[in-house]
Symmetry: C2
Subunit: 501 residues, 2 copies
Amino acid sequence: MSTHRLLARRAGIDTYQQPVVYLRSDGHVCRAEGFQSQAQIEVIAGGRHLLAILHHVDSDWLRQDEIALSEAGWTMLGAANGDEVEVRHPPVLDSLAHLRTKVHGGRLDHAALRALMEDVSHGRVSDIHLAAFVTVCAGGGLDFDEMVALTRAMVDVGERIDWGVSPVMDKHCIGGLPGNRTSLLVVPIVAACGVLMPKTSSRAITSAAGTADAMETLAPVDLDLVAMRRVVEREGGCIAWGGATRISPADDMLIRVERPLNLDSEGLLVASILSKKIAVGSQRVLIDLPVGPVAKVRSTAAAELLSRSLMAVGAALGLQVRTQLTDGTQPVGRGIGPALEAMDVMAVLERGSDAPSDLRERAVLLAGEILEMAGRSEPGAGQALARAVLLDGRALAKFIAICEAQGGLRVPPRAAHAHEVPAPAAGVVSAIDTRLLARAAKLAGAPRDAAAGATMHVRLHESVDLGQPLFTLHAESLGALQYALSFVRSQLPVVHIDAQP
Amino acid sequence: MSTHRLLARRAGIDTYQQPVVYLRSDGHVCRAEGFQSQAQIEVIAGGRHLLAILHHVDSDWLRQDEIALSEAGWTMLGAANGDEVEVRHPPVLDSLAHLRTKVHGGRLDHAALRALMEDVSHGRVSDIHLAAFVTVCAGGGLDFDEMVALTRAMVDVGERIDWGVSPVMDKHCIGGLPGNRTSLLVVPIVAACGVLMPKTSSRAITSAAGTADAMETLAPVDLDLVAMRRVVEREGGCIAWGGATRISPADDMLIRVERPLNLDSEGLLVASILSKKIAVGSQRVLIDLPVGPVAKVRSTAAAELLSRSLMAVGAALGLQVRTQLTDGTQPVGRGIGPALEAMDVMAVLERGSDAPSDLRERAVLLAGEILEMAGRSEPGAGQALARAVLLDGRALAKFIAICEAQGGLRVPPRAAHAHEVPAPAAGVVSAIDTRLLARAAKLAGAPRDAAAGATMHVRLHESVDLGQPLFTLHAESLGALQYALSFVRSQLPVVHIDAQP
């Protein structure tokens, strides 16, 4: 296969996570290789390989001997202006045959899923093929054996950590409940009790904020393995973004497509959660499953089915999993969005009088359970220990220490624009549509705009007056604020109010 | 919803069929609206609406008051340099809820599919959502009622033609068999017999050439409805690209994603074929179903199932459908690729001694059946009439007249580079993998490079000597030629040769 040398150049074009390269359509390389627009091409520089989408340029800003890279491509390739890079046709992807097999109703074994995840993790699979894979895995698209095989495949194609000690604790929330930011409380409580808890989190998939998004407004989360190990050795815990490591890297590529598709899949959910936990060296994991009418899990029965899959797949791979069903009928705390949720966390840690008690109680419940799983507390005594550590300030001290170890404590940003949404009638709050709320927060800019989102002013069963503020939308631009507001106004009420009898 | 005015500018960047617009990330519009990279935005100029993907620019080639458009966007919007255009957030797509319903196992009715196709046809649905829809429709993903509803929905969202006469005949081949370019022969035969046959065709989906691709090497095929009507009124037939009209426009958007995904779907196939036929005003259609081990339909049983769906969905929508099962075990004629297949067609029409007889016989079979369906021949007499019209030159004269009416007869291009693939051993040709052949032709550049592809030198059951040429690959660039060759060499033999006993 022939290769061609070109001079690298930063295009100054941001294509988000999809790397794009630009070549002159009338240049030697495109003519010789038959490179067509929107084709995938392989770019090589300094031993690094990048698969990128090609866009043809027919304009003087690019020379025929140059290749321009979008921001994502530039970062991934790590080139400097004027570096020599090679380009060539990418190898034909045999793993896509497995994808077709699955789409047409076949089942995939570990070898097939590993081949597919290997290609996915190296960015060789295009977005539309990723979308097809996510779609075919949606709902119950993967059976038990496939879930085990996919989880193992995702672990296999990335790095693994061995902490050399036992137990290594972890927690996870399956999400779908705005404001449920307990990890930022549980990690410092557990670590303050001398139990190891190296937590990696993902960014938001279908929600307005992931744990990593919220934590990032308080401290850097882009830790590589070396940095993570240093933080954990010093403080006994961390809250890092898993995607900055090569831990289950295929998962992050899938998330890029899952986010706009807004589809949930039991198999992808189980594999995503457990592959990260196994790769990061966790041994015992507590998983929080909020149950509510519009949460990710809608009924206790569904939560119990998912629990069984998580525990069984975990057991098949040597990971002890426990689950905790929690209330998912309304947002937790007040904030929805990275910075707004971080502010709630700080209020709980600082034991302010206005700290959201529901967030605190959930953190105490989960931390107590983890302390018991770890053998640090007798059965039944975990919550009391967790509460004591939170109330005497040790959790706050530990959290600050972790933030400093991760690169320094930050103050969360505040949005430039806010708008209160008033009650259209007096009555009692009978339901809160957390899904619509999350969508409004996303339309307002969350999670990419860290300060954007919503703050709740009412909770279920509270009485409200006509015109009383129900929630406030926050956005960095007036356009995004109006966009979110027009969505809220076009929907059924986000907050349902029953007239009082 | 607020809008902003910017000055249009042609970016000189070719992003193939996906429109992309470029805005300065530090400009007023992006800051005010919170437009993020890879977001969809709506662009409005002169009453036309375009949905495009946004790429941020942070470079001096673009001013803050400008919006640059990729070639696809530029053509779709029809703007001129310096025109004032408006940009805004696109409306939230309610139809995507239907997509999620379907992914999660629900069924879609006509209203849901119509809403989805309406958004698809206007380019409002992103490629990854299109990929999810194609995936969920793959295989037998749509039931009978959904096939009828989807077909009707695809017709509804486009234009329809009424020819004001009866019968209006049509034919279609489901494809999957390289070189099966019978439409270019059947249309002139049938039209020469005085029967109306206004044929629209698609470009290649998963094959190396579609009928429209092959025809385009002989005459223009981008006819709008007015031009098509003029050609048909003058000559009684045409061979046009359906995508240049607004006939079943959603289908063309789906094909954009189906092509790289390389997935087949019974429901999408039925809806794609029949919606085009109904919208174009056809009343009786003959559908060619080639059956072979690696053809689109693998067995007679599968072909009969598909036949039943095509006839039943057609009947539910007032279209008479007949099907014809044909041999799909080896390529038809010699050429594979737009220009190479067109040359075979011309050889048959010109009655040269080297004309491929298999292509001729298939065309006679299908044309004869259509002449009988139209009542132009008695049952059993159609083939004799078709053969007479072909052999006495009336079909050639009619084909030339149709090409002239469509804009002028052309000479198909020849590729710059060719390479013969020799037999690795002596023996008898026992199988030809038409799927690998088509893939090699595509890697060589077909159908985008019209001259690229392959020519076959052997047929099933023929004896070959060691080193005798089996087929020749043709490409416009040495790179593409090497790419196709390295694929051929890495695969199981494309042409299987059994040692002679």
